[in-house]
């Protein structure tokens, strides 16, 4: 660790920030079932869990929601469509929820999410902020839902994957092609190859899903900190000491 300066009083004036706490992001305008609404909120909340029991808590929340049956899909989709366009993470979380529930009836909802027009980029001058990127991640997550349903034998999911293999956005096309090649029937794959040939996009078939261990890894490090200077991190599971 390099030695650091003290926190010297500052002569210039740094930026100031005022935050406002938002209301709960979900309105549930279309659902008066408060218990169901609470289950949806809990499942989304548990998505962001941390700690050794995070996944267990998340699965428990999902199981409670699953018991309510596929009628929850309409409530989740309505919430998705009622959220402000720029609530990207909240919108994504609802799509992820649809994916996790794995109801065959979800094909219609997932199709609708992917089909929605992607609004024009709001950060045209940025190289690392992109509203189009956020929209595409929402849709590739919906594609993942279709892939899982296709693997479960839901024919309609495969039809939708084939349709969006011709989507105008590269990442959505790529995800559909990979998903259909992995889970489709021989007939689906024949149709897909024909489509890609017509579109002169057979190169998409060459992009393979691989394990991270077989991807080229970088050689990290510009220099190595001597062991005697390095300070170890505290253990990850200390309890909070103050609120």
């Amino acid at each position: 660790m390099p030695s650091k300066s003290f926190d010297t009083p500052f002569l210039a004036t740094p930026d100031t920030l005022e935050i406002r706490q938002a209301e709960h992001p979900f309105s549930f305008l279309n659902s008066k079932d408060e218990k169901l609404n609470a289950l949806i909120v809990e499942a989304v909340n548990r998505m962001g869990g941390v700690g050794d029991d995070a996944e267990e808590n998340y699965r428990r929340a999902l199981n409670s929601l699953t018991k309510r049956g596929p009628s929850v899909l309409d409530v989740i989709l309505a919430e998705y469509e009622n959220l402000p366009e720029d609530s990207y993470l909240d919108r994504w979380s609802l799509v992820q929820l649809i994916v996790e529930l794995r109801y065959p009836e979800a094909v219609k909802s997932l199709n609708r999410i992917i089909a929605a027009r992607i609004p024009a980029e709001k950060f045209r001058k940025s190289h690392d902020m992109s509203t189009v990127a956020e929209e595409v991640m929402i849709r590739t997550t919906a594609v993942e839902g279709l892939v899982r349903l296709s693997a479960d034998g839901v024919d309609e999911a495969r039809d939708v994957l084939l349709k969006y293999a011709a989507h105008r956005t590269f990442s959505i096309r790529r995800a559909c092609v990979q998903g259909l090649m992995q889970t489709g029937t021989d007939d689906d794959k024949r149709k897909l190859r024909r489509l890609l040939k017509e579109r002169k996009e057979e190169a998409l078939l060459k992009i393979k899903q691989v394990d991270v261990r077989s991807a080229p890894q970088p050689i990290g490090g510009r220099f190595v900190v001597p062991a005697q200077v390095k300070r170890e991190a505290p253990p990850p599971d200390l309890r909070a000491t103050k609120e």
């Binding site: 740094p14 998505m47 962001g48 991640m137």
Partner: protein
């Protein structure tokens, strides 16, 4: 000086609700403050940025700490930060060795973060409020790679969500630039991230694939 306001979005899916309850411990606050470039920069984390309220995950400092927690502890064997281990292990080491000063600013809405000379990295509102927790760790690694001597060296490919033909891409995966470091971190987080949920790991996968598909002039030919 700029003044900015921000309406804090829901903290559930981003991970801030739960990470917030964990990082509120003086041992973590001290470690993150002294390790990841906050030390010496109090003035940039005061005046609404959270210096006097570092457990409040509505404020930027706690949200930065949440990203630091993910960066530090997402490998199950986090104490091994050898460069021969996966980037999930040594990402935290690479950040601490390359970012000397981490400062917060309002920003002009055109960037999440910027790397300046001399080990200085600036993070803007989008870093705290549009990125999920592992995404903040990805950003710190991305900017650290710039500090490590790798600027972007190409234009984004045709059809890229980041803007066809704009500068800011990396030429290839083998260039081992900032996009490769960030994507690879997310990839490992998806594959082996510990103390998290399958949902946040899926989020990392989607973001990693987006980077692989759109941020290299020549597509690497694989995906997550």
């Amino acid at each position: 000086m700029a003044s900015c306001t921000y309406t804090v979005p829901d903290k559930a899916a981003s991970g801030d609700n739960f990470y917030g309850a964990v990082i509120c411990n003086q041992a973590y606050v001290d470690y993150f403050w002294n390790t990841y470039g906050f030390s010496g920069n109090k003035a940039y984390w005061d005046d609404g940025w959270g210096w006097d309220d570092c457990c409040n995950t509505s404020k930027p400092l706690a949200r930065a700490f949440n990203g630091c927690y993910a960066l530090t502890y997402s490998a199950s064997d986090y104490l091994n930060d050898s460069y021969s281990a996966p980037i999930l292990n040594w990402g935290r080491r690479y950040v601490r060795e390359n970012i000397d000063d981490l400062r917060s600013f309002c920003g002009d809405g055109t960037a999440i973060a910027r790397s300046k000379s001399g080990g200085l990295v600036e993070v803007y509102l989008g870093f705290f409020y549009s990125k999920d927790v592992p995404g903040r760790a990805e950003t710190l690694i991305h900017e650290s790679r710039h500090q490590g001597g790798k600027p972007h060296d190409a234009n984004f490919p045709s059809g890229s969500v980041f803007g066809s033909g704009k500068s800011g891409a990396d030429s290839s995966w083998d260039y081992e630039g900032a996009w490769m470091y960030g994507a690879l971190y997310l990839w490992w987080y998806f594959a082996e991230g510990a103390r998290t949920t399958s949902a946040l790991r899926q989020r990392a996968r989607q973001r990693g694939n987006l980077v692989i598909d759109n941020a290299f002039a020549t597509h690497p030919g694989f995906s997550i």
